[in-house]
């Protein structure tokens, strides 16, 4: 288990991670958040690249910056390093010094991803480089795998194959994977649990069902004049609002379990129906909720 307790990381004036508590047990975890939320910093802290200014990070029973902890973790950074003028063989040889790598898995993934063997990596496209390092990280025999923006630059077809491979290999080898992305769609059908980071703090975590439990999305046509402010005045916690012609689309966070429809009746709706919310929207709404709460705290 990865145990993060009260972890804080500061860079001069900026606090990148602030008193964060999080336990990562097993399965595939999606780490999401806006740009600059602290996702990469958190992954680097878990991998032992950065040291926490306050708090502790334990990988099983070892502190994250120890040799024993590092043996359990493989971190694939956003922009991975390959030795100068190296090819696939050279990259494999370099990492083989430090990690036990399953060559059969590595070779099969290289073949599956159609990566040319005798071409220098500097000649690879961004997507090909990503695929090579994804293949490498999946073949390394480490218990924990940290993937930072690993799906950037992959086309949708390849992305599906990669996701299938991650699920298959991690299930076989009982790996725990933490994959960060700002593209929530890319994480759909892959992750078991989302961890949302906002401004260096843990905003919320859980599976999609629990994260979207209190969100209700409506589309409505009202006889009375109506806008976001009118809806807010009804005491509703509006997370998103859009108007196209006379059709209003809005999402309400009904944490307090109010009788929303009774409240909306006052605006005399000629159409009022609930609409399904997709995964991407749930995560975006969670981020919007975190933003809103931040503003609320600032005001207070």
């Amino acid at each position: 288990m990865i145990q993060i307790s009260n972890a804080t990381k500061r860079f001069e004036q900026k606090t990148a991670i602030s008193s964060l508590d999080l336990n990562i047990e097993s399965g595939v975890i999606g780490l999401v958040g806006q740009n600059g939320a602290g996702k990469s910093t958190l992954l680097r802290m878990i991998a032992g690249v950065y040291q926490a200014d306050e708090g502790d990070i334990f990988i099983d029973t070892y502190l994250s910056n120890t040799k024993q902890a590092k043996e359990l973790v493989f971190f694939l950074p956003d922009d991975p390093y390959a030795p100068v003028s190296s090819d696939i063989k050279a990259v494999f040889e370099f990492y083989q010094i430090f990690y036990s790598i399953d060559k059969a898995i590595f070779d099969s993934l290289i073949t599956k991803f159609n990566l040319p063997m005798n071409v220098r990596i500097s000649k690879y496209s961004k997507g090909m480089r990503r695929l090579l390092f994804i293949a490498l990280s999946l073949s390394v025999n480490c218990k924990y795998l940290l993937l930072d923006e690993a799906f950037d630059g992959l086309d949708p077809l390849v992305l599906e194959t990669v996701k299938e491979e991650i699920v298959r290999i991690c299930k076989d080898k009982e790996k725990t994977v933490v994959v960060s992305s700002h593209n929530v769609t890319a994480l759909e059908k892959l992750v078991d649990k989302f961890v949302i980071i906002h401004d260096g703090k843990l905003s919320s975590d859980g599976d999609l069902d629990s994260l979207g439990e209190t969100f209700i999305k409506y589309q409505a046509i009202f006889d009375k004049q109506c806008n976001e402010e009118t809806l807010s005045k009804l005491g509703l916690n509006i997370l998103s609002y859009r108007k196209a012609g006379s059709l209003h689309n809005f999402v309400i966070d009904n944490k307090d379990n109010k009788d929303i429809e009774k409240a909306l009746e006052t605006l005399k709706p000629s159409l009022l129906e609930t609409v399904a919310i997709d995964a991407n929207e749930i995560i975006l709404l969670q981020m919007a909720l975190a933003n809103k709460e931040d503003k609320h705290h600032e005001k207070a």
Binding site: R44, V49, P77, E93, F98
Partner: protein, 383 residues
């Protein structure tokens, strides 16, 4: 096991191109220097050892930039700091592997060149005539190996000094600045003390012989290759005055007592600095990936210290070199340009805040004032 495999990887893969390039450069330089020398007059061949040492000194100073390159980019930092090795293990493996290729390169180029010189001797038409009078003196194993040995020690010391400086930085340009600054301070400290001693002799009007000795020491030991790092001075000095001057003297290290004291001071200073650098380099903590690619020192507190202490000291010494003699425009321009370069290297940009221009201008004005004042003082004392 991981450490050993990594060291092997470094030597065979990562450092190999550097090894080949520098061994070739050193061999060619040393070889051409020896070949161009007068075969029958070994005492005129003073530059040969410097031809071996100079490229190796550059190698020793540049190699740590590659040894510590994992600290100089975020990309490498992410990879290297997550590797399952203790940070000290990672750093020390890279340092030792670097030292191995440096020493091998040095020995290899010395052997190749010495072998070529022996072949040259054998093929010489009148080798039998010169065999007893010149060649064996010139190629006396003791002299040759003493010179090569001293040069090797100096190269190793230079490597550790450079390693120490490079370990403090988190960007190559900062490593270069810190490295050059430290070495300049070492050489300029000696230079300034010599200049001061010479001036004192002039003022005190002591006898010509004493003035000559101090002046000569300064010329030989310090101005032998002006502006070059301290490491260059010692082997050059030994090589010219002792190791190859065997035509006139019977034993290289006990010939001219005038130089012996200074030679010992130089060796002690150099070995002491090298030993300290070696100790700190191997035992110092390596930090973490967060400082990668930042300007200045990895330890941010040292930045202000460097800015407030070392830069003014460097400015002072740079001025001191130009301070003696009549005030001239070129001297002022050189000093102001040096200040500007120092600031630019430290900040990492040639565009800088107006405040820095004000400091550079102020320091240059102070330099002009000091230079005029000193010239007037010397003239007054002489009269």
């Amino acid at each position: 096991m991981k450490k050993r495999n990594y060291a092997k990887y470094l030597i065979v893969k990562e450092y190999l191109p550097l090894f080949i390039v520098f061994t070739l450069i050193t061999t060619i330089t040393f070889f051409s220097s020896l070949m161009a020398s007068d075969f029958y007059c070994p005492s005129s061949d003073n530059g040969s050892m410097l031809a071996l040492t100079a490229p190796m000194m550059v190698f020793a100073a540049a190699l740590p930039l590659f040894v510590y390159n994992y600290k100089y980019s975020l990309k490498r930092g992410d990879t290297y700091y997550q590797l399952p090795l203790e940070q000290k293990e990672l750093k020390n493996t890279r340092i030792i592997a670097g030292l191995c290729i440096l020493v091998t390169s040095f020995i290899l180029s010395s052997l190749i060149t010495s072998f070529a010189q022996i072949v040259r001797y054998i093929l010489a038409p009148d080798s039998k005539i010169i065999a007893h009078i010149t060649y064996f003196k010139y190629f006396h194993a003791g002299y040759l190996f003493a010179a090569i040995g001293v040069s090797l020690v100096t190269v190793v010391i230079e490597y550790f000094i450079s390693c120490f400086c490079c370990s403090l930085a988190s960007k190559p340009i900062s490593a270069l600045l810190i490295n050059v600054s430290l070495q300049l301070i070492l050489i300029l400290t000696l230079n300034a003390s010599m200049q001061f001693a010479r001036m004192m002799c002039e003022i005190a009007q002591v006898n010509e012989h004493t003035t000559y000795i101090i002046g000569d020491l300064s010329n030989v030991a310090i101005n032998y290759s002006p502006g070059v790092v301290i490491g260059f001075q010692l082997p050059g000095y030994i090589a010219t005055k002792y190791a190859f001057d065997v035509f006139n003297h019977s034993f290289p290290f006990a010939t001219d007592n005038r130089y012996l004291a200074f030679l010992i001071i130089c060796i002690v200073l150099e070995v002491l600095v090298g030993a300290l650098a070696c100790f700190f380099t191997l035992y110092m903590k390596d930090g973490s990936g967060e400082s990668c690619n930042n300007y200045g020192f990895a330890n941010k507190k040292l930045n202000s210290l460097f800015f407030l202490s070392i830069i003014p000291v460097l400015m002072f010494f740079l001025s001191l070199d130009q301070l003696f003699g009549f005030p001239d425009v070129i001297g002022v321009v050189i000093v102001a340009a040096s200040y500007y370069l120092l600031f630019a290297l430290f900040i990492g940009s040639f565009k800088m805040p107006k405040f820095n221009y004000a400091i550079i201008g102020g320091m240059s004005a102070l330099f002009i004032f000091a230079k005029i004042a000193l010239s007037l003082a010397i003239v007054a004392v002489r009269n």
